[in-house]
């Protein structure tokens, strides 16, 4: 069953790769360039999964996660952080902010599909 997923990243390459991969798996994918845009979209629209980069201009992924958790419709929505291996501290911070999981950049399409399957079972 296709779900709705939003991918948030300031790098178009990553955004498109995520979107393409997930659309290929039958999901509907929204795109946003940073936390502020994503938050704006998500104010009026719920999704099944949020995949966000950590390091972005305007509003980073951690802050986005924290803000999303204050929205009633996002208390339980899984949030997947795209992190880098040089950022273990960010991982802990992301967890504290309420993120559900992480994936280290760079990742393969298979790895992405595997964790999405874990986060959106059924």
């Amino acid at each position: 069953m296709g779900r709705t997923i939003i991918t948030v990243d300031d790098a178009a390459t990553i955004r498109k790769m995520v979107a393409f991969t997930l659309r290929g798996a039958g999901h509907e994918v929204l795109e946003a360039q940073d936390g502020v845009i994503a938050l704006n979209v998500l104010q009026s629209r719920a999704v099944d999964l949020v995949i966000t980069d950590v390091n972005m201009p305007n509003m980073n992924g951690i802050e986005l996660t924290r803000r999303l958790r204050t929205l009633p419709s996002f208390h339980r929505t899984p949030v997947l952080l795209l992190t880098t291996e040089s950022d273990p501290a960010k991982k802990a911070e992301g967890r504290a902010a309420g993120a559900t999981g992480w994936i280290v950049k760079p990742f393969s399409q298979e790895q992405l599909l595997a964790i999405v399957a874990k986060l959106l079972p059924g």
Binding site: D10, T13, V36, N40, S44, R45, A96, K105, P106
Partner: protein, 756 residues
């Protein structure tokens, strides 16, 4: 991943990365100057972080691994775990070059390049002392709940009762600009770090196509307008009128989409200046003003190389070494200023340095040595003429040829390239004080105003940028006005000799009036179009002068490309093709330029020096017999409107003009002693004045003449609307205070133009 997507992703990555790395260089240089802050480090980190992440995801492992090393160093710097020191800058710039090299290789060959960067990477790693590059953790993804809880994790309570989901809004597919704008307001407190947020990328080919289509539309519009002018059907007339207006607006909007800030070209200059200064042991500060000045992208492309060359020249030849500067009592650090601004439908770019200036005796010596001028000619040259010698082919004053600014093939190529796009270069210099290069270029090349003339029953378009004035000789004048000087026809235009060329003869067109004899038949009227090429004037005799028109430039076919007399073709309102004349090529073909050049040199420096003090003035009557003048440089156009076309908008008299509403100002109302009754002549004589895209029409009495004279103004500020008086053509003439009058009539005029 399929190949198509891979290609698309690589294309995006290249655009993103080149842009990012240019920014990276800029921020690095800011850091070097001590202008950086915590945010600067964050920006550069993010750029590299993005490159690394993106290239890794599409399988560019080499780029990824190189990017990784720099990222580690930058992340330590950003987090304050490592103190920033200037030694890192050159290593990081080198690193940026390495990445660019790999991207360029990727762009050209599809491969990441075979270069070995291990030495550079070693250097970067040694800079992060005590912090070896971390190895990748085993897990590449996971869920937090499957891990032992982190000590600082106050997890959001999972027991909150979920509220019903709000209804889905299915139409949001993409995040668009207005939403973004709203979002930006929300974070207005934070400094904006990226301007690309509100913009989308559009394929340049798409924009070119759009421009072409608009060009076609303009042509079709011209045809419709011409056709409906004869029709009596009011509905049709209305529709045509609307199409006219809309097309004009569309044309402007599309042209705007092709505009790019000149800063895009300049972005590379800080790096070039930095590297050159280092190589040459100089200290140079680069100041850039007016980065946001917009230009058509084809023009941006065309000026890229000339500008780069001029910058290199300024650093290499203009600015001195710190020792020389100190000896001359100047600060060690030289300043190079780049300035761009719009002025009257053109863009001016200035390159100023406060270096040694052009050495006049040395330039003369070199020019004589290279047989570009004779010693006699050199002796009588004005400074200005000497400066222009540097633009002659094969000229170079560098004592030794350096690898930085080329081998003396530069300046003439710079000049040719700029003139090719309808621009001009001017150079001013003062010994010991510095040099200023002024470049004027048109905003766009695709649609240009042109004068349509007829010769030998064919129509030709002459670009308005080359056009100076029109002279019509009738009866007696036609017979006696044109003289022969050493076998070449000339005309005395206000005391100056104007070499003439006959378009019919140059293009071998059939025309009974002028083909047989050099002096036209008795009853003929002679139309002279005074043109400017290469900074010199000549007259082109044509059979008929038709009208000015906005024309769409179409490139010539292969077969005609080699004919230097034509710059292109255009389609006229009636659907027929007219050739666009290349004024420069035509002048060379007719040999009129060379003649002028010789004459200018032998014509003694006295005349040349006086030119600077002379002004071209428009003479006219206002109200009663008051004789008035304004500098021609303030006049955008002279127009005549039938009185019936004058309409009223509120208290304001207006006319419809070029698809816009032109407010009219009766200058008589703003002058002290003129008759109170405004001028009622029919047709109404109007001097159009334009400033920053806004125009206003000054209603004058009769337009008398255009003169070229030395102006000695006696200031007389007691009278409103008049700047002062001067003696012009032996008569006392008042100089109209154009700006003052416009300000009095419409105090908002200049404010609003400033806002635009």
């Amino acid at each position: 991943m399929n190949d198509n997507l891979q290609q698309q992703l690589i294309k995006d990555l290249l655009i993103e990365s080149f842009e990012g790395l240019d920014n990276f260089d800029r921020e690095m240089l800011a850091l070097e100057k001590g202008e950086g802050n915590a945010e600067t480090l964050n920006i550069v980190f993010r750029i590299i972080h993005t490159i690394k992440g993106s290239s890794g995801c599409i399988g560019l492992n080499k780029i990824e691994s190189v990017a990784h090393v720099g990222e580690s160093l930058l992340s330590l710097l950003r987090d304050g775990k490592l103190a920033f020191n200037p030694a890192m800058i050159s290593a990081l710039l080198e690193y940026s070059d390495a990445l660019k090299e790999m991207f360029r290789s990727l762009e050209q060959t599809g491969q990441q390049g075979g270069a070995d960067y291990s030495a550079l990477l070693q250097k970067l790693q040694s800079l992060q002392t005590g912090n070896p590059v971390e190895t990748k953790p085993a897990a590449t993804y996971g869920l937090f709940e499957e891990e032992p809880a982190a000590p600082l994790a106050p997890q959001p309570s999972p027991t909150v009762v979920p509220e019903p989901l709000p209804a889905r809004v299915p139409h949001i597919e993409k995040v668009n600009a207005p939403e973004k704008a709203a979002a930006e307001k929300e974070v207005a407190a934070r400094p904006a770090t990226s301007v690309s947020d509100t913009a989308i990328r559009v394929d340049v080919g798409q924009l070119d196509k759009l421009m072409n289509l608009v060009g076609e539309l303009v042509l079709a519009r011209n045809q419709i307008v011409q056709f409906t002018a004869q029709a009596q059907e009011p509905t049709l007339l209305n529709a045509a009128q609307r199409i006219n207006t809309i097309t004009t607006e569309l044309q402007e909007s599309v042209m705007k989409t092709r505009m790019q800030p000149i800063g895009n070209v300049w972005a590379k200059f800080p790096r070039i200046v930095h590297d050159m200064a280092q190589d040459l042991g100089k200290q140079v500060e680069l100041v850039m003003e007016g980065k946001e000045t917009d230009l058509d992208r084809t023009i941006i492309e065309a000026i890229k190389d000339p500008l780069t060359h001029l910058i290199r020249n300024a650093v290499d030849h203009g600015i001195e070494t710190p020792e020389t500067r100190r000896a001359a009592g100047k600060p060690d650090r030289g300043t190079l200023t780049l300035r761009a601004y719009h002025e009257g439908g053109q863009v001016n770019i200035e390159i100023l340095d406060n270096g040694r200036g052009i050495n006049i005796p040395k330039v003369k010596e070199k020019a004589v040595q290279r047989s570009l001028v004779t010693p006699d000619q050199a002796a009588v040259m004005s400074d200005r003429e000497v400066f222009n010698l540097i633009f002659l082919p094969g000229f170079s004053t560098a004592e030794k040829v350096t690898n930085v600014s080329g081998r003396g093939v530069g300046m003439d190529v710079v000049k040719t390239n700029i003139e090719k796009i309808g621009g001009s270069v001017d150079v001013l210099s003062e010994a010991g004080q510095g040099t200023t290069l002024k470049i004027k270029i048109p905003l766009t090349l695709a649609i240009i105003p042109a004068l349509i003339v007829t010769s030998g029953a064919e129509r030709f378009a002459i670009p308005q940028v080359s056009l100076l004035e029109l002279v019509r000789l009738e009866a007696e004048q036609a017979r006696k006005g044109i003289e022969m000087l050493y076998g070449a026809p000339i005309y005395r235009l206000r005391g100056q000799l104007l070499p003439l060329a006959y378009l019919n003869r140059e293009l071998k067109l059939e025309s009974p009036a002028t083909t047989s004899a050099s002096v036209p038949a008795n009853d003929a009227v002679v139309n002279i179009v005074v043109l400017q090429a290469d900074g010199r004037q000549f007259g082109m005799v044509v059979d008929e002068i038709n009208d000015t028109e906005e024309i769409v430039v179409k490139p010539l076919g292969k077969q005609l490309k080699s004919i230097t007399c034509f710059a292109g073709a255009t389609i006229m309102g009636d659907g027929k093709v007219a050739l666009i004349l290349d004024v420069m090529g035509l002048a060379q073909h007719a040999n009129v330029i060379a003649e002028v050049r010789d004459r200018a040199v032998t014509g003694k420096a006295k005349a040349a020096e006086k030119v600077d003090e002379r002004q071209t003035l428009l003479l006219f009557n206002a109200g009663q017999n008051a004789r008035m003048a304004i500098p021609l440089s303030m006049v955008a156009r002279l127009e005549e409107f039938p009185r019936s076309q004058v309409e009223h908008s509120g208290n304001q008299e207006v006319v419809q003009y070029r698809g816009q509403i032109l407010p009219l100002i009766q200058i008589a109302n703003y002058l002290p002693n003129a008759s109170a009754t405004p001028m009622q002549a029919d047709p109404v004589q109007v001097v159009v004045y334009s400033e920053a895209g806004r125009s206003v029409g000054l209603v004058v009495g009769k337009i008398n003449d255009i003169v070229h004279e030395v102006l000695t103004v006696k200031r007389n500020s007691s009278r409103d609307g008049i700047l002062g008086s001067a003696v012009v053509q032996d008569k006392v003439t008042d100089l109209l205070d154009v700006i003052g009058i416009i300000h009095a009539a419409d105090p908002t005029f200049y404010e609003e133009t400033r806002k635009i």
